[in-house]
């Protein structure tokens, strides 16, 4: 277990790619997070509403509800939980656009792991 501000936080990982999901979860697990997963935006929205999720890490392109749709519906319901988008960097959207839509950060694939973890920790710290 690694000491981290993320410890005990309810984190939702949304990605249609199970391998990527489990790779991210591996790190979050080691930092003591309570992990929730979803493979599309629609499922993710339900989990956010029921489970009291504190941080969302979501892919952009997914079948049945994209990361952008998820972000938009969350912001519409005035929930300002930290939201980090993972993008493939090909014609998805720019970081500026993501920030404008209310996301806290946009990380481009292939993912810089350290940057991602640092960002997530920052989100926890700034939201307190």
């Amino acid at each position: 277990m690694i000491d981290s501000p993320l410890k005990g936080k309810k984190v939702l990982v949304v990605d249609d790619e199970p391998e990527l999901r489990s790779a991210i979860i591996f790190d979050l697990n080691r930092r003591g997070c309570i992990i929730f997963e979803a493979e599309n935006g629609t499922d993710a929205l339900k989990i956010v509403k029921t489970e009291g999720i504190e941080i969302v890490v979501s892919d952009v392109r997914m079948p049945n509800g994209t990361g952008i749709e998820l972000l938009q519906s969350l912001r519409k319901n005035h929930t300002d939980i930290p939201f980090v988008l993972l993008a493939t960097g090909f014609a998805d959207l720019t970081e500026a656009e993501a920030l404008k839509m209310g996301a806290q950060a946009l990380i481009e694939k292939p993912i810089d792991r350290k940057k991602m973890l640092k960002l997530l920790e920052e989100q926890v710290l700034t939201s307190i």
């Binding site: 391998e19 990527l20 489990s22 591996f26 960097g89 090909f90 694939k109 292939p110 810089d112 792991r113």
Partner: protein, 554 residues
């Protein structure tokens, strides 16, 4: 043209008819004219001869018929002349009968009868003269005859002589003298014999006188007969009718001349027309040649341009499909790459802080292996496109692999947009196919993209790839949830540059290039209008014919 031919023919016919009419009337006229002229000439001659002969005979008879002179020969001559005249009259009669100149015929006939009478009177005269001559010979005193007025003999002799002289000379003075003597004699009384002789002489004398008078009258009658006048009349009327006929012939001639002129003008007009037409035709031909040459040059130029543009468009279409593919590929690769990157990082971290568990290492490595495999698969699919399809010969490949590789370029996008993509294949094995795999893959991708575009707005989105064995072909059907293509689009959609997509979205080359590729493999690609869903069917021969390697598609 037809009109001119008809006109020409009718002109010729009319022309010929007029010539015939003219010829006919004129020949008739001239033949008859010659005959009639001959006849008139003959009649004139005959009449003239007759008149001459008759007058000669009469004069001879009246003046020189001298019983004292032996003029038997002259008398014979007169008779011959008369006979000749009669014969020629007869001939004339025949000729006039032939020409049916009726009035003149009867005149000649009459004349002939009169000549006959003349002849018979002449015979009577001769007879009487002969008789008187005989009596005179008996008296044998020719001198008395020479000077009948010197009466030296007895009264009886005087009377006989006088009567003879009277008979011979036959003058009215002699007659009156003889009558006076006879009156005196009857008062003197005389013998029966003497009185008989005197009576016979007197009788002959008076007959001669009478005959001479009658001959004279007859001659006058014949000479003054109206036949000449009649001939003249007939001639006149003939000439009238002749001139009438001639004038009609002239009319024909004039008509003919007019027709000739018209015809000539018509021919001239036609010749001018023809000449003009020929000239304009020649001009037009020359122009046409120039025009055709220019147009051909223009066409060649524009064809070159079109070919260049087509090639440019085709290559741009290829590039755009390549770009589409590249986007898909980048996304496909980026995600596994992210996984590997994360995993490797995690592994390094774990190794560094020593918190690593064997189980975790195994888990991470398995994940990395799985992901690299996935990338390898994508890259092996791309390998097709890296090769230059143009020079690649057909090679044995697996249809199954080709389809699966193709799907790796679009699967992600399709799934993302909720399009269900399914391969319906119940066939075992790899489905060996001799082809240029890159091209077949392009065709399938193109059809899949078309389907995707067509159904992206539908509620129900699916695409099925159905594979069937139609030996010696493989049949690949790409069916989507769309409800078919309108008939008017069906007819044109295989043509280059035809597109139903929005401007800028489609090049219109996809289907035509796809069709070309399939045909270059001796296969067929067509739209199956019998199915309720939109379906494109590809038939590909499993093996290429040995001597017909697939042709290139630009």
């Amino acid at each position: 043209m037809k009109r001119y031919i008809l006109l020409s023919i009718s002109g010729f016919v009319a022309f010929g008819f007029l010539i015939f009419l003219y010829q006919h009337s004129y020949s008739q006229l001239s033949d008859r004219h010659n005959d009639v002229l001959k006849l008139f000439l003959m009649a004139k001659q005959v009449e003239a001869t007759l008149e001459k002969d008759l007058l000669k005979s009469r004069n001879f008879l009246l003046m020189t018929y001298d019983p004292i002179v032996d003029n038997e020969k002259e008398v014979e001559l007169v008779c011959t002349d008369l006979h000749r005249s009669e014969t020629s009259l007869y001939q004339l009669l025949n000729v006039t009968l032939d020409h049916a100149i009726d009035g003149y015929c009867s005149a000649i006939d009459e004349k002939m009868r009169k000549v006959e009478r003349f002849k018979s009177l002449n015979a009577i005269l001769r007879n009487s003269i002969y008789f008187v001559q005989k009596i005179a010979a008996e008296k044998s005193d020719v001198n008395i005859l020479r000077s009948p007025t010197t009466l030296t003999a007895t009264l009886k002799d005087q009377i006989i002589n006088l009567s003879l002289a009277y008979a011979l000379i036959s003058t009215p003075e002699a007659k009156s003298k003889l009558e006076a003597l006879l009156k005196r004699e009857s008062t003197l009384g005389k013998s029966q014999q003497d009185s008989n002789e005197v009576a016979v002489a007197a009788m002959h004398a008076s007959r001669i006188l009478e005959t001479k008078e009658r001959l004279d009258e007859l001659t006058k009658d014949i000479v003054n007969s109206n036949s000449s006048q009649l001939l003249e009349d007939i001639r006149k009327s003939y000439f009238q009718s002749y001139s009438k006929a001639e004038s009609s012939a002239n009319t024909y001639r004039q008509l003919l001349f007019g027709a000739c002129t018209l015809f000539l003008l018509f021919i001239l007009y036609n010749i001018i027309l023809l000449w003009r037409a020929a000239k304009s035709l020649t001009d037009a031909n020359a122009n046409l040649e120039d025009k055709v040459r220019d147009r051909t040059r223009e066409l060649e130029k524009s064809q070159e341009t079109i070919i260049q543009q087509q090639q440019a468009l085709i290559s741009s279409a290829k590039m755009s499909s390549l770009g589409e593919m590249a986007g898909g590929v980048a996304h496909e690769i980026n995600t596994p790459l992210a996984v590997i990157s994360l995993r490797v990082d995690q592994l390094e971290e774990c190794l560094a802080d020593g918190s690593i568990k064997e189980l975790d290492i195994a888990k991470i490595l398995a994940a990395i292996r799985k992901t690299t495999d996935r990338i390898g698969k994508i890259v092996s699919g791309l390998r097709f496109f890296a090769r230059d399809g143009k020079i690649a010969p057909a090679q044995i490949a697996s249809l199954k692999n080709i389809i699966e590789d193709t799907l790796s370029f679009c699967n992600e996008r399709f799934t993302l947009h909720g399009v269900q993509l399914e391969i319906k294949n119940s066939l075992p094995g790899d489905l060996s196919l001799e082809c240029r795999a890159v091209e077949i893959s392009q065709v399938i991708l193109n059809l899949l993209n078309n389907s995707y575009d067509a159904i992206s707005e539908l509620k129900n989105k699916w695409i099925h790839i159905e594979i069937a064995d139609r030996h010696p072909f493989w049949e690949i059907c790409i069916v989507d949830s769309g409800h078919g293509i309108p008939k008017d689009v069906q007819d044109k959609m295989m043509q280059p540059f035809y597109t139903t997509k929005e401007i800028g979205k489609g090049t219109g080359l996809g289907l035509s290039i796809s069709k070309g590729i399939i045909e270059s493999h001796q296969g067929k690609m067509f739209y199956d209008s019998l199915r309720s869903n939109t379906c494109f069917t590809i038939l590909l021969p499993k093996a290429q014919e040995p001597n017909s390697s697939p042709k290139e598609v630009a």
